[in-house]
Amino acid sequence: MFESFNERIKNIGIYSAIYNNLSRFRNIPQEKSISLAILSLTYIFENMLTGESLILIDDVYDYITNIDATIKKEDAVKILESIIFEKGFSGINFQYYDYENRKIVNLNYKLIDITTKYSEGSQKIFLKLTDVGKEFILKTMEVYKELRITMELLFVQEQFKRGAFDEVRNSVDNLKFAVMTKLDEVNNLISEIKRAPWRVDFSYISKVYDFTLNQFEKEKEIFDRIFYLIKDIDHKNLNEKKKQKVTYIEKSLYESREYHSKLLTDYQKIMKNIMESGKKNIINFIVNKISIETKYIDLLFRGENFNPESMFIFSSYKPNKSFCFKGLFDNPYFEKEKHVILEDVDDEENIHFIETENKKVDFLVTIFNRMNNGIAKLSDIITEIEVVKLDLIMHLHQMKLIDFNDSEGLIRKAYNKCDLNYDSFEVKSTDKILKYENIEFTDFSFIPLKDDIYE
């Protein structure tokens, strides 16, 4: 029970220490001092991410006073000091009672390191986040794990600047590992989106997507900067061992950059895949909701564009109809002229289209002629089922009542080929289930009507 206690309290204590130190001011409201302190830490952190290892303390003061004009510079100094020092000593403190060892324990957290440097003719104070500070700020960010490659790259860059080739060698290995791990993660995510989207945490993706993409772009720049540093190395002054190290580092970095480029490309595919999967997912969800027998679905959507209306044909669920106002007020005095626009069409596509259309017209002619003898059943007409035919039947069923006087398109074409003793017809589904190969679907009846009946 006490094993992880110290670790847990250490993690919690830092929040308490920050809170205590920032709630002691008389002239700065506590809610403002806390916000400004966290913003200052984030400011330092983000500057470090862009490659600045030290941040001028005056820049942080300016940052605070620019955010809130009511905060004076001396208040900004107090806020910053309260997360750097406590009672004149470096670090901020938290006390707790350790029941395992029966003693009071003092914890000291150093969030920020202070360095003085001679710059532009005067001594200046610079800040940087300590490991504790970085860890704290990363813990408070949801995108912590999205920054791993950036951190590794920054390590490589810093070590390179210092000429610490042994450390760089280890870091480039870590970097390569981090890039490849991320690449694996992204590819797994893409296949998961395709295969089992319900297991994917889309809310997390939407939160970090833009940030991560932006971060990849930044990382590309850091890669470039590191290669620039490598080019600057004077190989003549290096001994053989160091030359070998630099060659290894360079090779490893090239490989990491290759993987990183792929990572960027693959990451951009995520959204495209989400949209594609969304379409399938939404169909599945609606299909379940309205209880369509899924065996129809593949057939309906195979090779065809998704038609949301088709799904209701085999369902007991019917959407609520409403008025379509487009065309409600149409009442032309003259018959509308039909405008034909001729466009260049790919020959092969055109031939396929004509073949399909002819097939549909022939099928309609068969149905129409059968109805000259009374009610016709689909099962009496077809011997095999094809998607084109099923699609056409569904379309007729949606129209419910087809009046040849108002007909156009395929129906008109088929009608012109027939000599019919009726003026309109109705399409109704029956209880009979037809089976062709592995496909099951409802039988339909086509009922011929004469004008005097339905008017």
């Binding site: 889309f202 969304g278 939404i282 909701k289 209306e309 609520n320 409403s322 106002f325 009442n331 005095y333």
Partner: protein
Amino acid sequence: MNEFEYAAKIIVHLLEKTEMNEKDNRELILKYFNNDQIRNIVETFAEEANLELYHNVYDDYICVIPKTPRGIFSYNKTDIYEKYKLDKESYELFVYFTFVIFYLFFDLNEDNFKVEKLMQASNEKIEKIKSDLEEIDINEKYNWNFNGILKSWEKFKDAPGTEITKLRANIKSKTGILKKTLNILHEEKIIEFIQGSIFAVKKTKKTEAVLTALKKDETFEMLKKYYKGEENAED
């Protein structure tokens, strides 16, 4: 639930009810307005299903209106005849009164009006058609069958003056069809009766959606311009 499930729930609700507001489902409405991905999915579906998607963030309101009268989500004439017990002639008058209602809402920028005003506006427009036809063949000029509407108008008798203020009216009279029109539009949530009375009507959230859709309707725009007496209404 993930984004797709939320979007699918919204779509199913819209298909069942045609509209959705905060009272129906606050969670779904908030998701729709605050999550781009959910909104994109619903928009994509509406586009594919030939539905006009209207939303008003200030009213927390979404609705769909069919873009084509041929789809499964839209009444065809037979549906309207059957559901609302109309025939060819009463249907034409219903469409005419519906036009005048939208004309009043739209062009005169009225949010509400009394039923007498509607009847008065309808009469005025018929008079304009009659007088214009004496001078020029407006049927030909605007390629719209004004004669047809005159014919239907005259087939229905004028109501006695008191009938307009009575709850019930003879279905064979103009007032009867006008009240039927109001009842149909009320049932379709396109208008609302003020204090539950048929004698005064006001806009609903759905009216705004329909008016937005009608802005794209060339015939409606042409008729609107014609009745307003604007030159070259046929352009």
